[in-house]
């Protein structure tokens, strides 16, 4: 399956990346860097990230979405938001 990143996804990625980098003191963040396993953030940050995506993209993180896998990296978070928004997932 061909991976296609839409303009909408690029915008989501940019916003999420900006939010994460404003919260942690690292110079850059790789698309697939695991935020929690690498210790970049602690698990409490997951709540901040979930709250951020809800407010910013007007989506609701529902009971079945409450899996840290959905927010473990930049790409995972973008895929989650895109899925909720009905955009094509890269």
């Amino acid at each position: 399956m061909t991976s296609v990143t839409t303009a909408a996804e690029s915008g989501i990625k940019e916003a999420v990346k900006r939010f994460i980098l404003s919260s942690v003191n690292i110079p850059d963040l790789g698309d697939d860097d695991n935020l929690f396993e690498t210790g970049i953030v602690n698990s409490l940050f997951a709540v901040q990230l979930m709250t951020f995506v809800e407010k910013t993209f007007a989506i609701e993180v529902e009971m079945d979405d409450l899996d840290i896998e959905n927010f473990k990296s930049l790409n995972a978070t973008v895929a989650f938001v895109s899925r909720k928004n009905g955009h094509r997932v890269a």
Binding site: S43, A46, M50, M63
Partner: protein, 286 residues
């Protein structure tokens, strides 16, 4: 003992955590604080904690918003705890405030009810002295975030009875928590040591030896701690850390507990850590 209702005095950081844990485990919490505004904020925080809990822990029970709301009684009237099986006190880390609360609590709680004093540093024996039931007072030192921490430091005061300890252990068993029982001295084990770390880390930052990030990184990457001392202080609340240091200083009369001027300055500037959005670090909204 059957725990149907637990009184929770003080709806700050730890109080919210205690209520979250109780509600998640099917116990009704009667939450008392001094204003409706504080109570409303606390309720919102509890509901947020409960909503996101499944993402942070696979083992915690799943509870709906409606179930959670039905297990919370919010009030500014201390008399509401008169029907509670146990009372957990989490008011401000200030002796005069706690003393007043315990004197009032003594009047409204049935004599057999036990009190769990949640304090960072104040001696449990001193707190028990403000009541007429010192055998029923036990110290509990819950860590943040309460509902995600599996272990609690429990402090036996000079007069604390075995029955009181047993009742508390039963309650923690309901909350799936283990307890480590220690004897009473200001700061107990955890805070007597951890506050030296946090305070000295603030001095190191003040002396410009390293940035906050570098200080915390050394603790995380070299010592293997989950969090560094400065981010821990931000999580606890810098005002609470400052007050705890003052209690330790006052109690031991030992200059090693003198509060770092930078820490005190941040508190006076309103930079209290996570809860105010700024402390040693800046926290994005959310």
């Amino acid at each position: 003992m059957e725990f149907r209702q637990i009184g929770v005095l003080g709806a700050g950081n730890i109080g919210v955590g205690v209520v979250t844990d109780l509600v998640l485990h099917g116990i009704t919490a009667v939450i008392v604080d001094i204003s409706q505004e504080i109570l409303r904020r606390a309720q919102a925080e509890v509901l947020k904690n409960i909503r996101f809990a499944p993402a942070l822990s696979k083992t915690l029970p799943r509870v709906t918003k409606e179930e959670a709301s039905s297990r919370m009684v919010l009030t500014t009237d201390l008399k509401a705890v008169s029907t509670c099986d146990f009372v957990i006190e989490n008011v401000t880390e200030d002796w005069q405030t706690k003393k007043q609360v315990y004197e009032n609590l003594e009047r409204v709680a049935p004599p057999e009810v036990c009190f769990g004093a949640n304090t960072s540093c104040i001696s449990i024996t001193q707190i028990a002295g403000a009541t007429r039931r010192p055998a029923n007072v036990v110290g509990i030192h819950l860590m943040n975030p309460v509902h995600l921490k599996p272990t609690v430091e429990v402090i036996r005061g000079f007069h604390t009875s075995d029955r009181t300890i047993e009742i508390l252990l039963q309650l923690f068993s309901r909350l799936s928590k283990d307890a480590i029982l220690v004897e009473d001295m200001p700061g107990f084990v955890s805070n007597r040591i951890s506050h030296l770390f946090m305070n000295e880390a603030a001095f190191v930052l003040q002396d410009r030896v390293a940035t906050a990030e570098k200080i915390d990184s050394i603790f995380k990457k070299c010592f293997g701690h989950k969090m560094g001392p400065l981010e821990t202080a931000d999580l606890i609340g810098l005002d609470t850390v400052m007050r705890s240091l003052d209690v330790l200083y006052e109690s031991f009369q030992d200059p090693k507990y003198r509060c770092c001027p930078l820490l005190r300055k941040l508190v006076h500037a309103g930079h209290l850590g996570r809860k105010s959005g700024k402390g040693f670090y800046v926290y994005p909204e959310g």
